[in-house]
Amino acid sequence: MARLTHFFFLLPFLALFFIFIVTPIFYAFGLSFFNASVSQASLFMNYVGATQYSRVLGDSTFWGGYATMLYFTLLWVPLMFVLSFLIALFLDSRRGKLGSLGKVMVFLPYGVPTVIGTLMWGYMYTPGAPMASVYSLLGLGNEALAPGFIIYAMLNIVVWEWVGYNVVILLAGLGAIPKTFYDAARLDGASSWQVTRYVKLPMLKRYFAFIAMLAIIGDQLLFNEPFTLSNLSSVPFGYTPNLYIFHVTYFLSEFNYAAAVAFVLIAISFVIAVIGVRFFMPERSR
Protein backbone atom coordinates (compact mmCIF):
# COMPACT_ATOMS: atom_id res chain seq x y z
CA MET A 1 0.00 0.00 0.00
CA ALA A 2 2.67 2.46 1.05
CA ARG A 3 4.52 1.71 -2.16
CA LEU A 4 1.58 2.92 -4.20
CA THR A 5 1.14 6.25 -2.41
CA HIS A 6 3.20 8.22 -4.90
CA PHE A 7 0.82 6.97 -7.57
CA PHE A 8 -2.17 8.70 -5.95
CA PHE A 9 -0.26 11.96 -5.95
CA LEU A 10 0.60 11.56 -9.62
CA LEU A 11 -2.83 10.46 -10.76
CA PRO A 12 -4.86 13.72 -10.98
CA PHE A 13 -2.20 15.55 -12.98
CA LEU A 14 -1.40 12.60 -15.22
CA ALA A 15 -5.07 11.94 -15.99
CA LEU A 16 -5.64 15.49 -17.23
CA PHE A 17 -2.24 15.47 -18.93
CA PHE A 18 -3.10 12.43 -21.02
CA ILE A 19 -6.58 13.62 -21.90
CA PHE A 20 -5.75 17.22 -22.77
CA ILE A 21 -2.15 17.14 -24.00
CA VAL A 22 -1.24 13.67 -25.24
CA THR A 23 -4.60 12.80 -26.82
CA PRO A 24 -4.94 16.04 -28.84
CA ILE A 25 -1.44 15.50 -30.24
CA PHE A 26 -2.39 12.02 -31.47
CA TYR A 27 -5.70 13.40 -32.68
CA ALA A 28 -3.91 15.99 -34.79
CA PHE A 29 -1.64 13.28 -36.12
CA GLY A 30 -4.59 11.05 -37.03
CA LEU A 31 -6.59 13.85 -38.65
CA SER A 32 -3.62 14.88 -40.78
CA PHE A 33 -3.95 11.75 -42.96
CA PHE A 34 -7.45 12.61 -44.15
CA ASN A 35 -9.07 15.30 -46.22
CA ALA A 36 -12.74 15.47 -45.27
CA SER A 37 -15.00 18.09 -46.77
CA VAL A 38 -17.10 20.36 -44.59
CA SER A 39 -20.31 18.54 -45.46
CA GLN A 40 -19.07 15.16 -44.24
CA ALA A 41 -20.12 13.89 -40.81
CA SER A 42 -16.66 12.88 -39.63
CA LEU A 43 -13.26 14.47 -40.06
CA PHE A 44 -11.78 11.00 -40.57
CA MET A 45 -12.97 10.74 -44.19
CA ASN A 46 -11.09 10.57 -47.51
CA TYR A 47 -7.77 9.00 -46.57
CA VAL A 48 -5.03 10.82 -48.45
CA GLY A 49 -1.84 9.37 -46.96
CA ALA A 50 0.95 11.85 -46.36
CA THR A 51 -0.12 14.37 -49.00
CA GLN A 52 -1.11 16.95 -46.35
CA TYR A 53 2.49 16.87 -45.17
CA SER A 54 3.96 17.42 -48.60
CA ARG A 55 1.59 20.37 -48.86
CA VAL A 56 2.89 21.76 -45.54
CA LEU A 57 6.49 21.33 -46.68
CA GLY A 58 5.80 23.35 -49.81
CA ASP A 59 3.59 25.94 -48.11
CA SER A 60 5.48 29.21 -48.40
CA THR A 61 2.91 31.07 -46.25
CA PHE A 62 3.52 28.72 -43.33
CA TRP A 63 7.31 28.84 -43.60
CA GLY A 64 7.22 32.59 -44.13
CA GLY A 65 5.34 32.84 -40.83
CA TYR A 66 7.85 30.53 -39.21
CA ALA A 67 10.72 32.71 -40.43
CA THR A 68 9.02 35.82 -39.02
CA MET A 69 8.70 34.03 -35.67
CA LEU A 70 12.39 33.05 -35.69
CA TYR A 71 13.42 36.60 -36.55
CA PHE A 72 11.26 37.80 -33.70
CA THR A 73 13.00 35.37 -31.30
CA LEU A 74 16.42 36.59 -32.43
CA LEU A 75 15.42 40.16 -31.61
CA TRP A 76 13.56 39.39 -28.46
CA VAL A 77 15.80 37.06 -26.45
CA PRO A 78 18.93 39.30 -26.31
CA LEU A 79 16.81 42.41 -25.75
CA MET A 80 14.99 40.67 -22.91
CA PHE A 81 18.26 39.53 -21.30
CA VAL A 82 19.82 42.96 -21.34
CA LEU A 83 16.74 44.91 -20.24
CA SER A 84 15.68 42.58 -17.45
CA PHE A 85 19.24 42.26 -16.14
CA LEU A 86 19.79 46.04 -16.08
CA ILE A 87 16.44 46.76 -14.44
CA ALA A 88 16.96 43.97 -11.88
CA LEU A 89 20.46 45.27 -11.03
CA PHE A 90 19.09 48.75 -10.56
CA LEU A 91 16.13 47.72 -8.40
CA ASP A 92 18.34 45.39 -6.37
CA SER A 93 20.87 48.12 -5.58
CA ARG A 94 18.05 50.45 -4.45
CA ARG A 95 16.13 47.74 -2.59
CA GLY A 96 16.13 49.62 0.72
CA LYS A 97 14.95 52.93 -0.75
CA LEU A 98 12.31 51.85 -3.25
CA GLY A 99 10.87 48.91 -1.37
CA SER A 100 8.52 46.94 -3.56
CA LEU A 101 7.35 49.99 -5.52
CA GLY A 102 9.67 49.47 -8.49
CA LYS A 103 9.01 45.76 -8.62
CA VAL A 104 5.23 46.13 -8.65
CA MET A 105 5.50 48.86 -11.28
CA VAL A 106 7.44 46.77 -13.80
CA PHE A 107 5.49 43.58 -12.98
CA LEU A 108 2.08 45.16 -13.51
CA PRO A 109 1.87 44.75 -17.32
CA TYR A 110 2.23 40.98 -16.89
CA GLY A 111 -1.18 40.99 -15.23
CA VAL A 112 -2.87 42.76 -18.12
CA PRO A 113 -4.36 40.20 -20.53
CA THR A 114 -2.25 40.33 -23.71
CA VAL A 115 -5.31 41.08 -25.82
CA ILE A 116 -6.05 44.16 -23.70
CA GLY A 117 -2.37 45.17 -23.58
CA THR A 118 -2.26 44.98 -27.36
CA LEU A 119 -5.47 47.00 -27.68
CA MET A 120 -4.00 49.72 -25.43
CA TRP A 121 -0.79 49.89 -27.42
CA GLY A 122 -2.80 49.62 -30.62
CA TYR A 123 -4.72 52.76 -29.67
CA MET A 124 -1.47 54.46 -28.70
CA TYR A 125 -0.07 53.56 -32.13
CA THR A 126 -3.10 55.08 -33.84
CA PRO A 127 -2.41 58.29 -35.80
CA GLY A 128 -3.30 61.24 -33.60
CA ALA A 129 -2.74 59.35 -30.32
CA PRO A 130 -0.18 60.58 -27.75
CA MET A 131 2.63 58.49 -29.21
CA ALA A 132 2.27 59.99 -32.70
CA SER A 133 4.93 62.64 -32.07
CA VAL A 134 7.38 59.91 -31.02
CA TYR A 135 6.82 58.12 -34.31
CA SER A 136 7.48 61.19 -36.39
CA LEU A 137 10.73 61.61 -34.42
CA LEU A 138 11.64 58.06 -35.45
CA GLY A 139 10.90 58.99 -39.05
CA LEU A 140 7.81 56.84 -39.23
CA GLY A 141 5.37 59.60 -40.02
CA ASN A 142 2.03 58.55 -38.66
CA GLU A 143 2.45 54.94 -39.65
CA ALA A 144 3.43 53.05 -36.51
CA LEU A 145 1.65 50.03 -37.93
CA ALA A 146 3.10 50.22 -41.43
CA PRO A 147 3.67 46.73 -42.86
CA GLY A 148 7.44 46.69 -42.32
CA PHE A 149 7.11 48.03 -38.81
CA ILE A 150 4.51 45.64 -37.36
CA ILE A 151 7.18 43.31 -36.00
CA TYR A 152 8.76 46.13 -33.95
CA ALA A 153 5.35 47.31 -32.80
CA MET A 154 4.80 43.74 -31.58
CA LEU A 155 8.26 43.51 -30.05
CA ASN A 156 7.52 46.60 -27.98
CA ILE A 157 4.23 45.13 -26.73
CA VAL A 158 5.84 41.79 -25.82
CA VAL A 159 8.75 43.49 -24.02
CA TRP A 160 6.29 45.65 -22.11
CA GLU A 161 4.31 42.57 -21.05
CA TRP A 162 7.18 40.24 -20.10
CA VAL A 163 10.20 42.22 -18.89
CA GLY A 164 8.72 42.70 -15.42
CA TYR A 165 8.12 38.97 -15.00
CA ASN A 166 11.77 38.24 -15.80
CA VAL A 167 12.93 41.09 -13.56
CA VAL A 168 11.12 39.49 -10.62
CA ILE A 169 12.83 36.15 -11.34
CA LEU A 170 16.27 37.82 -11.53
CA LEU A 171 15.60 39.89 -8.40
CA ALA A 172 14.91 36.69 -6.51
CA GLY A 173 18.18 35.31 -7.86
CA LEU A 174 20.14 38.40 -6.83
CA GLY A 175 18.55 38.26 -3.40
CA ALA A 176 19.70 34.65 -3.01
CA ILE A 177 23.41 35.46 -3.48
CA PRO A 178 25.07 35.11 -0.05
CA LYS A 179 26.29 38.46 1.32
CA THR A 180 29.66 36.84 2.16
CA PHE A 181 30.39 36.65 -1.59
CA TYR A 182 30.22 40.44 -1.85
CA ASP A 183 32.33 40.92 1.27
CA ALA A 184 34.99 38.59 -0.07
CA ALA A 185 35.04 40.41 -3.42
CA ARG A 186 35.31 43.82 -1.69
CA LEU A 187 38.20 42.59 0.49
CA ASP A 188 40.01 41.59 -2.68
CA GLY A 189 39.49 45.16 -3.91
CA ALA A 190 36.95 44.38 -6.65
CA SER A 191 35.19 47.36 -8.27
CA SER A 192 31.41 47.34 -8.51
CA TRP A 193 31.73 46.55 -12.23
CA GLN A 194 33.90 43.53 -11.33
CA VAL A 195 31.38 42.42 -8.70
CA THR A 196 28.65 42.56 -11.33
CA ARG A 197 30.72 40.77 -13.95
CA TYR A 198 32.36 38.06 -11.82
CA VAL A 199 29.91 37.52 -8.96
CA LYS A 200 26.37 38.49 -9.99
CA LEU A 201 26.40 37.39 -13.62
CA PRO A 202 27.77 33.84 -13.01
CA MET A 203 25.46 33.35 -10.01
CA LEU A 204 22.48 34.10 -12.24
CA LYS A 205 23.35 31.55 -14.94
CA ARG A 206 20.50 29.20 -14.00
CA TYR A 207 18.03 32.05 -13.97
CA PHE A 208 19.08 33.18 -17.43
CA ALA A 209 18.65 29.62 -18.75
CA PHE A 210 15.17 29.63 -17.24
CA ILE A 211 14.31 32.98 -18.86
CA ALA A 212 15.66 31.84 -22.24
CA MET A 213 13.49 28.76 -22.07
CA LEU A 214 10.39 30.81 -21.24
CA ALA A 215 11.21 33.19 -24.10
CA ILE A 216 11.51 30.38 -26.64
CA ILE A 217 8.24 28.80 -25.54
CA GLY A 218 6.62 32.22 -25.56
CA ASP A 219 7.56 32.83 -29.16
CA GLN A 220 5.92 29.61 -30.27
CA LEU A 221 2.73 31.03 -28.82
CA LEU A 222 2.79 34.29 -30.76
CA PHE A 223 -0.86 34.75 -31.64
CA ASN A 224 -2.69 37.25 -29.45
CA GLU A 225 -0.63 40.27 -30.45
CA PRO A 226 -0.73 39.82 -34.25
CA PHE A 227 -4.38 38.70 -34.12
CA THR A 228 -5.46 41.73 -32.13
CA LEU A 229 -3.36 44.10 -34.25
CA SER A 230 -4.95 42.61 -37.37
CA ASN A 231 -8.20 44.26 -36.30
CA LEU A 232 -6.51 47.65 -36.23
CA SER A 233 -4.32 47.42 -39.30
CA SER A 234 -3.46 45.02 -42.08
CA VAL A 235 -1.52 42.09 -40.61
CA PRO A 236 -1.13 39.26 -43.17
CA PHE A 237 -3.10 36.12 -42.22
CA GLY A 238 0.05 33.98 -42.30
CA TYR A 239 2.10 36.42 -40.22
CA THR A 240 2.88 33.82 -37.51
CA PRO A 241 2.28 30.02 -37.64
CA ASN A 242 -0.54 30.18 -35.06
CA LEU A 243 -2.28 32.97 -36.92
CA TYR A 244 -2.09 30.78 -40.02
CA ILE A 245 -3.60 27.74 -38.26
CA PHE A 246 -6.49 29.91 -37.11
CA HIS A 247 -7.01 31.25 -40.61
CA VAL A 248 -6.93 27.79 -42.22
CA THR A 249 -9.48 26.47 -39.71
CA TYR A 250 -11.78 29.42 -39.32
CA PHE A 251 -11.88 30.98 -42.75
CA LEU A 252 -10.82 28.20 -45.11
CA SER A 253 -12.49 25.38 -43.10
CA GLU A 254 -9.67 23.01 -44.09
CA PHE A 255 -9.70 21.17 -40.78
CA ASN A 256 -7.46 18.29 -41.77
CA TYR A 257 -4.85 20.56 -43.23
CA ALA A 258 -4.94 22.69 -40.05
CA ALA A 259 -4.26 19.51 -38.06
CA ALA A 260 -1.25 18.72 -40.27
CA VAL A 261 0.15 22.25 -39.82
CA ALA A 262 -0.41 22.01 -36.06
CA PHE A 263 1.31 18.64 -35.94
CA VAL A 264 4.34 19.94 -37.82
CA LEU A 265 4.55 22.81 -35.34
CA ILE A 266 4.31 20.37 -32.40
CA ALA A 267 6.97 18.13 -33.96
CA ILE A 268 9.39 21.05 -34.37
CA SER A 269 8.78 22.15 -30.76
CA PHE A 270 9.33 18.57 -29.62
CA VAL A 271 12.76 18.48 -31.25
CA ILE A 272 13.66 21.88 -29.75
CA ALA A 273 12.38 20.62 -26.37
CA VAL A 274 14.48 17.45 -26.42
CA ILE A 275 17.58 19.53 -27.16
CA GLY A 276 16.58 22.25 -24.68
CA VAL A 277 15.92 19.84 -21.82
CA ARG A 278 19.62 19.00 -21.69
CA PHE A 279 20.35 22.61 -20.80
CA PHE A 280 17.71 23.44 -18.23
CA MET A 281 16.76 20.08 -16.72
CA PRO A 282 17.62 20.23 -13.00
CA GLU A 283 20.41 17.97 -11.85
CA ARG A 284 19.05 15.66 -9.19
CA SER A 285 20.15 16.49 -5.71
CA ARG A 286 20.32 12.82 -4.81
Partner: protein, 277 residues
Amino acid sequence: MAKLGRHAITIIVVALLAVYFLLPLWWVVVASTKPYASAFIGNAIWFQNPTLYNYVYAFTNSSLPLWLFNSVVEAGAAGIIGAFFAAMMGYSLGKFNFRGRRALTLLVAIALMIPSTAIAYPTFVLEAQLGIADTYWAMVLPSSVSAFGAYFMTIYTEETIPKEVLDAARVDGASEFRVFRSVAIPYFKPALITLFIIIFAATWNNYLLALFVLRSGSLFMIPQGLESVLINGSSFPQYQYAIQMAGSVTTVLLMVGLFLALEKYIEAGLGLGAVKG
Protein backbone atom coordinates in the same frame (compact mmCIF):
# COMPACT_ATOMS: atom_id res chain seq x y z
CA MET B 1 28.12 65.40 -3.81
CA ALA B 2 28.49 61.82 -5.06
CA LYS B 3 25.51 60.92 -2.94
CA LEU B 4 23.47 63.65 -4.57
CA GLY B 5 24.42 62.34 -8.01
CA ARG B 6 23.34 58.85 -7.07
CA HIS B 7 20.06 60.26 -5.84
CA ALA B 8 19.48 62.07 -9.13
CA ILE B 9 20.21 58.93 -11.14
CA THR B 10 17.72 56.97 -9.04
CA ILE B 11 15.01 59.53 -9.68
CA ILE B 12 15.70 59.68 -13.42
CA VAL B 13 15.73 55.91 -13.87
CA VAL B 14 12.57 55.43 -11.81
CA ALA B 15 10.86 58.15 -13.85
CA LEU B 16 11.87 56.47 -17.13
CA LEU B 17 10.64 53.07 -15.92
CA ALA B 18 7.39 54.60 -14.72
CA VAL B 19 6.77 56.34 -18.04
CA TYR B 20 7.36 53.19 -20.06
CA PHE B 21 5.55 50.66 -17.87
CA LEU B 22 2.70 52.82 -16.62
CA LEU B 23 2.00 55.21 -19.50
CA PRO B 24 -0.28 52.87 -21.50
CA LEU B 25 -2.19 52.04 -18.30
CA TRP B 26 -2.46 55.70 -17.32
CA TRP B 27 -3.47 56.67 -20.83
CA VAL B 28 -6.34 54.17 -20.82
CA VAL B 29 -7.49 55.44 -17.41
CA VAL B 30 -7.60 59.02 -18.74
CA ALA B 31 -9.17 57.94 -22.04
CA SER B 32 -11.87 56.02 -20.18
CA THR B 33 -13.13 59.27 -18.70
CA LYS B 34 -13.58 60.94 -22.08
CA PRO B 35 -16.50 60.61 -24.44
CA TYR B 36 -15.63 58.99 -27.75
CA ALA B 37 -16.02 62.26 -29.66
CA SER B 38 -13.07 63.89 -27.89
CA ALA B 39 -11.03 60.74 -27.23
CA PHE B 40 -8.26 61.48 -29.65
CA ILE B 41 -8.08 65.25 -29.41
CA GLY B 42 -6.65 67.54 -26.76
CA ASN B 43 -4.62 66.57 -23.74
CA ALA B 44 -4.07 62.83 -23.77
CA ILE B 45 -2.46 62.43 -20.39
CA TRP B 46 -4.61 64.48 -18.06
CA PHE B 47 -8.33 64.60 -17.26
CA GLN B 48 -10.55 67.16 -18.98
CA ASN B 49 -14.19 67.32 -17.92
CA PRO B 50 -14.05 63.68 -16.81
CA THR B 51 -17.25 61.66 -17.12
CA LEU B 52 -18.22 58.18 -16.01
CA TYR B 53 -20.45 57.70 -19.04
CA ASN B 54 -18.30 54.90 -20.52
CA TYR B 55 -18.48 52.89 -17.30
CA VAL B 56 -22.19 53.37 -16.85
CA TYR B 57 -22.82 52.38 -20.43
CA ALA B 58 -20.52 49.32 -20.32
CA PHE B 59 -21.92 47.98 -17.06
CA THR B 60 -25.57 48.48 -17.93
CA ASN B 61 -25.73 47.90 -21.69
CA SER B 62 -23.05 45.32 -22.42
CA SER B 63 -22.05 41.89 -21.19
CA LEU B 64 -19.02 43.30 -19.37
CA PRO B 65 -20.20 42.18 -15.89
CA LEU B 66 -20.77 38.68 -17.25
CA TRP B 67 -17.32 38.59 -18.92
CA LEU B 68 -15.74 39.66 -15.63
CA PHE B 69 -17.63 36.93 -13.79
CA ASN B 70 -16.61 34.34 -16.42
CA SER B 71 -12.95 35.40 -16.20
CA VAL B 72 -12.90 34.93 -12.46
CA VAL B 73 -14.74 31.60 -12.64
CA GLU B 74 -12.84 30.07 -15.58
CA ALA B 75 -9.33 31.37 -14.96
CA GLY B 76 -9.83 31.08 -11.20
CA ALA B 77 -10.97 27.45 -11.32
CA ALA B 78 -8.12 26.55 -13.70
CA GLY B 79 -5.67 28.31 -11.37
CA ILE B 80 -6.84 26.48 -8.25
CA ILE B 81 -7.15 23.01 -9.83
CA GLY B 82 -3.93 23.46 -11.81
CA ALA B 83 -1.85 24.66 -8.84
CA PHE B 84 -2.99 21.78 -6.58
CA PHE B 85 -2.58 19.04 -9.16
CA ALA B 86 0.85 20.38 -10.11
CA ALA B 87 1.83 20.52 -6.44
CA MET B 88 0.85 16.87 -5.91
CA MET B 89 2.70 15.86 -9.07
CA GLY B 90 5.81 17.86 -8.18
CA TYR B 91 5.75 16.60 -4.60
CA SER B 92 5.64 13.02 -5.82
CA LEU B 93 8.42 13.52 -8.38
CA GLY B 94 10.54 15.45 -5.92
CA LYS B 95 10.21 13.36 -2.77
CA PHE B 96 9.38 9.76 -3.67
CA ASN B 97 11.68 7.19 -5.20
CA PHE B 98 9.93 4.95 -7.66
CA ARG B 99 10.52 3.34 -11.00
CA GLY B 100 9.81 5.62 -13.91
CA ARG B 101 10.32 8.80 -11.91
CA ARG B 102 13.11 10.05 -14.15
CA ALA B 103 11.11 9.26 -17.27
CA LEU B 104 8.09 11.17 -15.92
CA THR B 105 10.23 14.18 -14.98
CA LEU B 106 11.64 14.19 -18.49
CA LEU B 107 8.14 13.92 -19.97
CA VAL B 108 7.01 16.95 -17.97
CA ALA B 109 10.07 18.95 -19.03
CA ILE B 110 9.46 18.16 -22.70
CA ALA B 111 5.72 18.85 -22.46
CA LEU B 112 6.62 22.22 -21.01
CA MET B 113 7.91 23.26 -24.41
CA ILE B 114 4.98 22.07 -26.51
CA PRO B 115 3.13 25.26 -27.46
CA SER B 116 -0.41 25.26 -26.08
CA THR B 117 -1.57 27.16 -29.15
CA ALA B 118 -0.57 24.28 -31.45
CA ILE B 119 -2.84 21.85 -29.59
CA ALA B 120 -5.74 24.31 -29.31
CA TYR B 121 -7.42 23.13 -32.48
CA PRO B 122 -7.13 19.34 -31.85
CA THR B 123 -8.29 20.00 -28.27
CA PHE B 124 -11.44 21.53 -29.70
CA VAL B 125 -12.06 18.51 -31.95
CA LEU B 126 -11.58 16.22 -28.95
CA GLU B 127 -13.91 18.28 -26.75
CA ALA B 128 -16.58 18.24 -29.44
CA GLN B 129 -16.40 14.42 -29.33
CA LEU B 130 -16.54 14.36 -25.53
CA GLY B 131 -19.49 16.74 -25.60
CA ILE B 132 -17.89 19.40 -23.40
CA ALA B 133 -17.13 22.00 -26.10
CA ASP B 134 -18.80 25.33 -25.43
CA THR B 135 -19.12 24.84 -21.66
CA TYR B 136 -17.09 26.22 -18.74
CA TRP B 137 -15.23 22.90 -18.59
CA ALA B 138 -14.03 23.34 -22.17
CA MET B 139 -11.75 26.14 -20.97
CA VAL B 140 -11.13 25.07 -17.36
CA LEU B 141 -9.94 21.49 -17.87
CA PRO B 142 -7.26 22.00 -20.57
CA SER B 143 -6.02 25.11 -18.76
CA SER B 144 -5.60 23.15 -15.51
CA VAL B 145 -2.84 21.02 -17.00
CA SER B 146 0.28 23.04 -16.36
CA ALA B 147 3.44 21.20 -17.34
CA PHE B 148 5.25 24.34 -16.25
CA GLY B 149 3.55 24.03 -12.86
CA ALA B 150 4.59 20.40 -12.40
CA TYR B 151 8.18 21.23 -13.36
CA PHE B 152 8.21 24.27 -11.09
CA MET B 153 6.77 22.28 -8.17
CA THR B 154 9.29 19.44 -8.61
CA ILE B 155 12.20 21.85 -8.19
CA TYR B 156 10.41 23.74 -5.45
CA THR B 157 9.87 20.49 -3.52
CA GLU B 158 13.51 19.51 -3.82
CA GLU B 159 14.74 22.96 -2.85
CA THR B 160 12.53 23.81 0.08
CA ILE B 161 11.18 20.72 1.87
CA PRO B 162 13.81 18.94 3.99
CA LYS B 163 13.40 15.17 3.82
CA GLU B 164 14.06 14.95 7.56
CA VAL B 165 10.93 16.96 8.35
CA LEU B 166 8.78 14.59 6.29
CA ASP B 167 10.45 11.56 7.86
CA ALA B 168 9.92 12.93 11.36
CA ALA B 169 6.17 13.20 10.67
CA ARG B 170 6.15 9.65 9.29
CA VAL B 171 7.91 8.30 12.38
CA ASP B 172 5.17 9.94 14.44
CA GLY B 173 2.71 7.73 12.59
CA ALA B 174 1.18 10.28 10.16
CA SER B 175 -0.25 8.83 6.92
CA GLU B 176 1.26 10.00 3.61
CA PHE B 177 -1.77 12.19 2.89
CA ARG B 178 -1.53 13.75 6.32
CA VAL B 179 2.17 14.41 5.78
CA PHE B 180 1.34 16.13 2.50
CA ARG B 181 -1.48 18.18 3.94
CA SER B 182 0.03 19.26 7.25
CA VAL B 183 3.77 19.31 6.51
CA ALA B 184 4.28 19.93 2.76
CA ILE B 185 1.40 22.34 2.02
CA PRO B 186 2.66 25.06 4.42
CA TYR B 187 6.01 25.00 2.61
CA PHE B 188 4.17 25.22 -0.72
CA LYS B 189 2.17 28.33 0.13
CA PRO B 190 4.24 30.94 -1.81
CA ALA B 191 4.65 28.54 -4.74
CA LEU B 192 0.92 27.74 -4.85
CA ILE B 193 0.05 31.43 -4.89
CA THR B 194 2.63 32.19 -7.60
CA LEU B 195 1.42 29.28 -9.69
CA PHE B 196 -2.20 30.32 -9.24
CA ILE B 197 -1.38 33.74 -10.72
CA ILE B 198 0.66 32.23 -13.56
CA ILE B 199 -2.09 29.77 -14.53
CA PHE B 200 -4.77 32.45 -14.11
CA ALA B 201 -2.92 34.77 -16.51
CA ALA B 202 -2.10 31.91 -18.90
CA THR B 203 -5.80 30.92 -19.05
CA TRP B 204 -7.11 34.26 -20.17
CA ASN B 205 -4.11 34.65 -22.45
CA ASN B 206 -4.80 31.30 -24.12
CA TYR B 207 -6.99 33.22 -26.45
CA LEU B 208 -6.71 30.85 -29.42
CA LEU B 209 -8.19 28.02 -27.32
CA ALA B 210 -11.00 30.31 -26.19
CA LEU B 211 -11.75 31.22 -29.83
CA PHE B 212 -12.08 27.54 -30.71
CA VAL B 213 -13.91 26.06 -27.73
CA LEU B 214 -16.13 28.93 -26.53
CA ARG B 215 -18.71 29.82 -29.14
CA SER B 216 -21.50 31.21 -26.94
CA GLY B 217 -21.08 34.84 -25.97
CA SER B 218 -22.38 33.95 -22.51
CA LEU B 219 -19.15 32.00 -21.80
CA PHE B 220 -16.66 34.63 -22.98
CA MET B 221 -13.91 35.90 -20.70
CA ILE B 222 -12.90 39.57 -20.82
CA PRO B 223 -10.31 39.41 -23.62
CA GLN B 224 -12.67 37.57 -25.98
CA GLY B 225 -15.55 39.81 -25.02
CA LEU B 226 -13.63 43.00 -25.69
CA GLU B 227 -12.30 41.69 -28.97
CA SER B 228 -15.79 40.58 -30.08
CA VAL B 229 -16.87 44.18 -29.55
CA LEU B 230 -13.97 45.32 -31.70
CA ILE B 231 -14.95 42.98 -34.51
CA ASN B 232 -18.74 43.42 -34.38
CA GLY B 233 -19.07 46.97 -33.21
CA SER B 234 -17.51 48.96 -36.02
CA SER B 235 -20.81 50.58 -36.97
CA PHE B 236 -21.16 52.06 -33.45
CA PRO B 237 -17.65 53.21 -32.59
CA GLN B 238 -18.80 55.23 -29.57
CA TYR B 239 -20.26 52.12 -27.82
CA GLN B 240 -17.31 50.01 -28.84
CA TYR B 241 -15.01 52.63 -27.35
CA ALA B 242 -17.01 52.86 -24.11
CA ILE B 243 -16.98 49.10 -23.54
CA GLN B 244 -13.31 48.69 -24.37
CA MET B 245 -12.08 51.51 -22.18
CA ALA B 246 -14.25 50.63 -19.19
CA GLY B 247 -13.46 46.93 -19.62
CA SER B 248 -9.70 47.49 -19.85
CA VAL B 249 -9.56 49.73 -16.78
CA THR B 250 -11.72 47.37 -14.72
CA THR B 251 -9.48 44.43 -15.65
CA VAL B 252 -6.32 46.34 -14.83
CA LEU B 253 -7.72 47.40 -11.44
CA LEU B 254 -8.66 43.79 -10.71
CA MET B 255 -5.12 42.63 -11.42
CA VAL B 256 -3.48 45.49 -9.51
CA GLY B 257 -5.54 44.53 -6.48
CA LEU B 258 -4.57 40.88 -6.83
CA PHE B 259 -0.85 41.72 -7.18
CA LEU B 260 -0.73 44.11 -4.27
CA ALA B 261 -2.48 41.58 -2.07
CA LEU B 262 -0.18 38.70 -3.04
CA GLU B 263 3.00 40.58 -3.94
CA LYS B 264 5.13 39.36 -1.01
CA TYR B 265 4.53 35.71 -1.98
CA ILE B 266 5.34 36.14 -5.66
CA GLU B 267 9.04 36.88 -5.42
CA ALA B 268 9.54 34.16 -2.83
CA GLY B 269 7.63 31.71 -5.02
CA LEU B 270 9.39 32.52 -8.28
CA GLY B 271 12.78 32.72 -6.62
CA LEU B 272 12.87 29.26 -5.14
CA GLY B 273 11.19 27.74 -8.12
CA ALA B 274 13.74 29.01 -10.58
CA VAL B 275 16.90 28.29 -8.67
CA LYS B 276 19.11 25.32 -8.92
CA GLY B 277 22.80 25.89 -8.46
